[in-house]
Assembly symmetry: C2
Homo-oligomer: 256 residues x 2
DNA sequence: GCAAAAGTGTTGTTTCTACACCCATGT
DNA sequence: ACATGGGTGTAGAAACAACACTTTTGC
């Protein structure tokens, strides 16, 4: 109803994590917060809030994220600005939406309650505003970008096995991948490098641990890489997986 | 200096056209407008203006575009929202930037004067604000997207020869393409369809005229295709090239 | 030994690339 | 006839996909 010249500006974020699913594989999940005022009171919505005068857009995304869900993402990128006239029933609101990835261990720290909850990405309740459309777009971007960039490690800890990495791809793309070809592709891209350590405690041959080669930053970000993806390099917490790591460098390592 | 909670919201557009270059090939050009007030008075800047309360983001882009350069683009898509704190010296301004393509004949209608001028894309003057960065990003997007989508016809008229289409690719990607392979790729993608007409008046074998198959809309837009690219389908004006078209359907046509 | 996943090798298919060559028109 | 780009054919290279097979651990 307001006749202000400059519409209200808000920032929201679609956050993704992977969590163990029912059938042994991982499934995509995202956190929603329940609205506590009109419009759409009681409905689930994306975490977000108004942009304040002295913060960046990405800063605003991080801040509202932390405030509503207490999450700190490992990857954060702008998704799209939504400004349809009718997206909010009363006032005119333009939302600049970000999307983010968090590692599983970080996601565990969420305090879930009546107003904050993780939902499986393709079993969402009715959402407020146009948030359903926004989530669909974010999902499309995630799936598309996974195939030509190195964002997958946003879901993982500092080190990981190629099987874990493959599981990320399989969960997001929703299709099985050939382990042999996957290994070759990953090692061939140079984006991933063996640490020399191995993971023991599995009931089979201990797999090698890998980490991302941060020096390799292929041209998939564009001239805005320094602007859009400052959070890509946020170091992960030490892995809190239930496996132990041993350090007997094997002969078959790629680069020691 | 303003302490408003909601920053000012502006919309700008990076518009591209192709025009005949010095060496016989085409070159990318974009229109800039001269600023007539502080800050950056006298500097060249992207066309744009404030978002008003009763218009869409894309509408605002179209409106300001028409007002400042009297251009109507054939393709319009959101590029990015720029919101750095220091991008304007005095007030806080968040700019939602679009990028657009116009056909050559449409571009001819620009009324160039002291305050509106086309510049070759990689020979720009000093620009106001962060517009240099914005143009670089738009250029990157154009070049990237050209390779996996069907936006090239945004530069062309309703019908065109494959040589004209190839010229678009060569000018934007700045590298020569093999005519034979280009033809096969284009025909194989199904995005382009022969009209049956041919272009006469050249001093060699008359090439076939093609048009875009509008029914083919591959999944390169995402769930927002209906939202982001409403201008993609704007029909072009009848071709005003200096060639004549004849209509003798030849036997070697692909589909009549 | 057996199961199970790690890791390597191989083969056939598809796609890409370079380039040769014929075709149809204007001059 | 000849120059010029339109249009087609094709052989080699590279990338991809499917799947067999060997290795190393826990049990």
């Amino acid at each position: 109803m307001s006749e202000v010249v400059s519409p209200n500006l808000a920032v929201s974020t679609v956050i993704f994590r992977l969590r163990p699913g029912a059938d042994g594989t991982s499934e995509l999940a995202l956190p929603l917060v329940r609205r506590i005022r009109a419009p759409y009171e009681g409905r689930w919505a994306l975490p977000g809030g108004p942009l304040t005068a002295h913060e960046d857009l990405a800063q605003a995304a991080s801040r509202t994220l932390l405030a509503t869900t207490s999450l700190q993402p490992r990857y954060l990128e702008q998704l799209y600005a939504f400004g349809q006239l009718d997206r909010s029933p009363d006032e005119r609101v333009v939302s600049i939406v970000y999307w983010a990835l968090v590692a599983s261990d970080e996601a565990e720290r969420t305090i879930e309650n009546d107003n904050v909850r993780w939902f499986v990405a393709d079993e969402l309740p009715e959402l407020a505003f146009d948030h359903k459309l926004i989530v669909e777009y974010a999902l499309w971007r995630l799936r598309t970008k996974l195939e030509y960039s190195q964002i997958a490690h946003g879901f993982l800890g500092e080190t990981f096995t190629l099987a874990q990495l493959r599981e990320v791809y399989e969960a997001v793309l929703q299709k099985p991948l050939d382990p042999g070809n996957f290994r070759r592709t990953m090692e061939g891209s140079g984006a991933v490098v063996a640490t020399g350590e191995r993971l023991s405690g599995t009931r089979h041959r201990p797999p090698q641990l890998y980490k991302y080669d941060t020096s390799v930053n292929p041209a998939d970000q564009g001239p805005l890489s320094h602007l859009t993806a400052p959070c890509t390099l946020v170091p992960a917490n030490p892995s809190t997986t239930s496996f132990r790591t041993t350090t007997h460098a094997s002969a078959s390592g790629v680069s020691a």
